[in-house]
Symmetry: C2
Subunit: 345 residues, 2 copies
């Protein structure tokens, strides 16, 4: 190889696009490939929805404050969230682990306890997997498989001018939970005698250590109201980045209203304690696993009185760009921040 381009020049999404842009789908059953939260396969009566994620120790999780049982639970939830965000229902998962001999059977049992708890809660079956060794660290790869109906699946690319933007819950807490855990870790490392001070931040830390996917929306509230979003995505990387994905895929712009983005008072308070702007935590923090979706204007009545739904903006023409309407009444272009860090060997 004569040329050496660092992957950070492209970023995660740029890299995937670069590596896969010339892939053409050959099989009739491959309805939707790369470029959404999940792939969609047409296997007859039902659509099969497939999503996959890989989590890497030291990048996605830190076992100093992430108990293995929580890690097992969260690893599953993160994948299920991708299936729900297609307006589909997860049914099966496979798990592959690579781990070094630092991990005992008991440690792996703990991890699987979390996996099983998530499978039970979300009514999903663990149907396969692989375990192998790694020279260093733990890697978790999960594939989730679900089912959906052809005419009610929600893709990223269906948002239209005039659609209403909605959120399923409050944002920013997971990111602040991580900040608190990181702070206590640093204090512990410099003085192992000190007990961690997690304060009364159960909710905030819980959002980081044990997030939930919005099963209730997909299996209960949406079908009960007869609502099919025109586009949908789950918030893993932060609201701004997800809104960019929807706008980019749909060929539209958007106005996001800061006042419509729900942030809890305890989250605001913690943000300020960390000298962070609360809206920045919501926009760029990520890991909240709430759903961002758009609905046709005629469906406004359906979402207006739905529990835990927040109307946070609207879809506009592409030429208007993607903007934030602040509480102060200003309108700025929105910035999407990535979180790609590739480690050193």
């Amino acid at each position: 190889m004569s040329k050496r381009t660092d992957v950070n020049e492209l970023g995660e999404f740029g890299l995937i696009e670069h590596l896969t842009h010339n892939i053409k789908l050959k099989n009739k059953s491959s309805l939707k490939g790369i470029g959404d939260d999940a792939a969609v396969l047409d296997y007859g009566d039902k659509m099969v929805v497939v999503s996959t994620d890989i989590l890497s120790e030291g990048i996605h999780f830190d076992l100093m404050y992430m108990p293995l049982k929580h890690l097992g639970y969260k690893s599953v939830v993160v994948n299920l969230s991708d299936i729900y965000s297609m307006n589909a229902i997860p049914k099966q998962i496979t798990i592959s682990l690579a781990f070094s001999n630092r991990f005992s059977v008991e440690a792996l049992e703990e991890f699987y306890e979390g996996v099983k708890a998530a499978c039970d809660f979300y009514h999903v079956d663990l149907v396969g997997g692989d375990t192998t060794s790694s020279l260093k660290g733990l890697f978790i790869s999960i594939t989730a498989i679900g089912e959906g109906q052809k005419d009610t699946l929600a893709y990223r690319n269906g948002a239209k001018e005039g659609d209403i933007l909605c959120l399923t819950g409050d944002l920013g807490a997971a990111y602040l939970g991580l900040q608190i855990l990181e702070r206590e870790k640093q204090i512990y490392l410099s003085n192992p005698g000190v007990q961690p001070d997690l304060g009364s931040n159960e909710y905030i830390i819980g959002r980081q250590l044990k997030p939930e996917a919005r099963k209730d929306m997909i299996t209960e509230f949406f079908p009960k109201a007869g609502l099919v979003p025109t586009s949908m995505i789950d918030i893993s990387d932060g609201l701004a980045s997800e809104l960019f994905h929807i706008c980019h895929a749909s060929g539209v712009g958007a106005i996001l209203n800061e006042g419509g983005v729900p942030i809890r008072p305890d989250v605001e308070e913690q943000a300020i304690a960390f000298k962070l702007d609360p809206i920045t935590c919501a926009l760029s923090g990520g890991e909240d696993y709430e759903l961002l979706f758009s609905v046709a204007p005629e469906d406004l009545e359906k979402v207006k009185y739905m529990p835990d739904i927040y109307i946070c903006g609207e879809i506009v023409g592409k030429e208007e760009g993607i903007k934030l309407h602040t509480k102060g009444g200003n309108i700025h272009p929105l910035k999407a921040q990535g979180w790609v860090h590739f480690g050193n060997d």
Copy 2:
């Protein structure tokens, strides 16, 4: 955690069984879970067959002699082989990669070139995936998805007393290819000026670096002959280990005829050069990705004249155990050797 059990006490299969033994399938569509080459999901007209593998640098591959393009190709083939071994046809794959910043965009392009070559050759679509960073090394997790017919899928557990054991091709070459590559690596490491001497071992080295899955059997020869194996497995860990899996799952014994296990003359020669017994390479070497399957006695005529099929033994009662009938006329109990090594952190 008070107790610490080393994973090597259980071995890879023991570990999976230990961690997953209390899992009960909840969903109607989960037809077959853990314990075969792939899971089987009932999503309507067709059965969806899903298999997943994780490959870890320094354990499964060595980039000193494995070009990234070959690695991409092989990673896909290994997974497709698991789908074919269910008598199903792979249609889609997802790929997740975790890699350190040692890997450039160009290196990843090379890997994906191999992935695409395999997807083209096997007519499979890459429909999803994830890329992330690792603190050290490369990890590849692939999930393959295929389709099968409910009444023609071949599981591990269908072998019956009196069935005939068959193989689709010669064994042992992939393992000897690895020995040659390892030898040349050691020579190179102690004297970087020396050119590797791979001799005239194209076939043997090719079996290690660029294995193929037996698509021809599943999409052509078997259906043409109207053959449905009573049980089937692909040979990734070595013939002995795979035969144990079939016998264990089916509750039967087996007699394997050494004379019926095809080993090429050049493979025999190389084995002897390495002071290895050729049959041991075939029994325990692994990575040949041929199919081991059983057929009902009345199907003998169907396999007898099929190209590249070798009759290598028969299924007997469980009480007779699993035995090797040597060329010399002796009968020994067969030993299955595992290849589990968990690395150090």
